[in-house]
């Protein structure tokens, strides 16, 4: 399968991606139940999910956890990094296991990362550490309100 070519997915694959973004059954044979609705066999569904994960079309298949509900801390943070210093700073930021995602973006704030910690207090500690290590001031924008996390990604 050509990874960068969405056309390489057949209709069954697209149906799987569209239908299974939530609501996967919690029963003894969930793949069997989901497969019936998609007109597939249990074995075919499992193999197709496996292939979609291997090709990178799906980044994950399983439960999505709400870390804050578990008492953890979570924030979105950004740095305005000098281009010449970018790789060094990226390495320093990424070295923290609490940094879950990090993206380079086109803006004066050109590094945006998510910090996820076991306790809310640790978020502040990680930010302080990153500021000390990089010598830069972190823009900390934790969510105040969540409007929606979309499920409906249609192919």
């Amino acid at each position: 399968m050509n990874l960068n070519n969405p056309q390489a997915l057949d209709q069954h694959d697209k149906d799987i991606i569209n239908a299974l973004q939530g609501g996967f059954p919690v029963c003894e044979r969930p793949y069997l139940e989901a497969a019936k609705k998609l007109g597939l066999s249990e074995d075919d569904l499992i193999k197709r999910i496996e292939a979609l994960l291997n090709s990178g079309a799906l980044s994950r298949f399983g439960p999505l956890i709400n870390a804050e509900r578990m008492g953890g801390g979570l924030t979105l943070a950004a740095l305005a990094v000098n281009e010449d210093d970018f790789d060094r700073v990226a390495e320093l930021v990424n070295a923290h296991p609490q940094v879950a995602h990090n993206y380079e973006r086109e803006h004066e704030y050109n590094m945006w990362f998510v910090i996820a910690t076991e306790t809310p207090e640790q978020v502040e500690q990680i930010i302080k550490k990153i500021e000390l290590e990089t010598g830069l001031q972190v823009l900390n924008v934790p969510k105040l309100e969540e409007f929606f996390i979309g499920l409906r990604f249609d192919l």
Binding site: G62, L64, H101, V141, L144, R152
Partner: protein
């Protein structure tokens, strides 16, 4: 608006940790999780149902990779929205099908004036820009300024790690 924090016991934590890499791709995945943490499949299912109900588990299913699926333009659209209207307007923006996440976040004046973030995915930048115009229409006169911040490169993506 902090979400209620729920007590989570060691068994739930162990189940979550066991599914960090994803749901096992076997015909009886919940039994397989149970084998790893010393529970029956039925016990695992009952606990996961409870965690779905309480919101500790948001949902179970597939997480598509937008980039690999041809939605290669990813624009974080940021907006300076009147505080008294952000809750109502945010819900409308979050309901748009091309918006994958929408949040109210704090401003840091003067260098960061934006208080609403809406992640927009498109096949190219033109598509992202036309989506952003639709958002602007919804926000109308409540918006004072905005920007689209495109992603250039993923520097790290490990997801959440929960220890037991």
């Amino acid at each position: 608006m902090t979400a209620e924090i729920l007590e989570i016991d060691v068994v739930d934590r162990a189940i979550i940790a066991a599914t960090q890499g994803g749901l096992p791709l076997v015909p009886r995945p919940y039994d397989a999780i149970g084998d790893g943490v010393g529970l029956s499949g039925a016990e695992v299912r009952a606990r996961m149902q409870e965690m779905l109900k309480s919101g500790i588990i948001r949902r179970i299913g597939a997480v598509p990779n937008h980039y690999k699926l041809g939605f290669s333009a990813n624009g974080m659209t940021v907006w300076d929205v009147a505080d008294e209207q952000i809750s109502d307007l945010g819900k409308k923006v979050g309901a748009l099908e091309f918006v994958s996440h929408c949040y109210h976040r704090p401003r840091h004046a003067p260098h960061w004036p934006y208080n609403m973030f809406a992640m927009v995915h498109g096949k190219n930048r033109e598509e992202v820009e036309s989506h952003a115009q639709e958002i602007a229409k919804i926000l109308g006169s409540a918006v004072k300024g905005s920007d689209i911040i495109y992603s250039k490169r993923i520097l790290k993506k490990t997801g959440l790690r929960i220890s037991v």
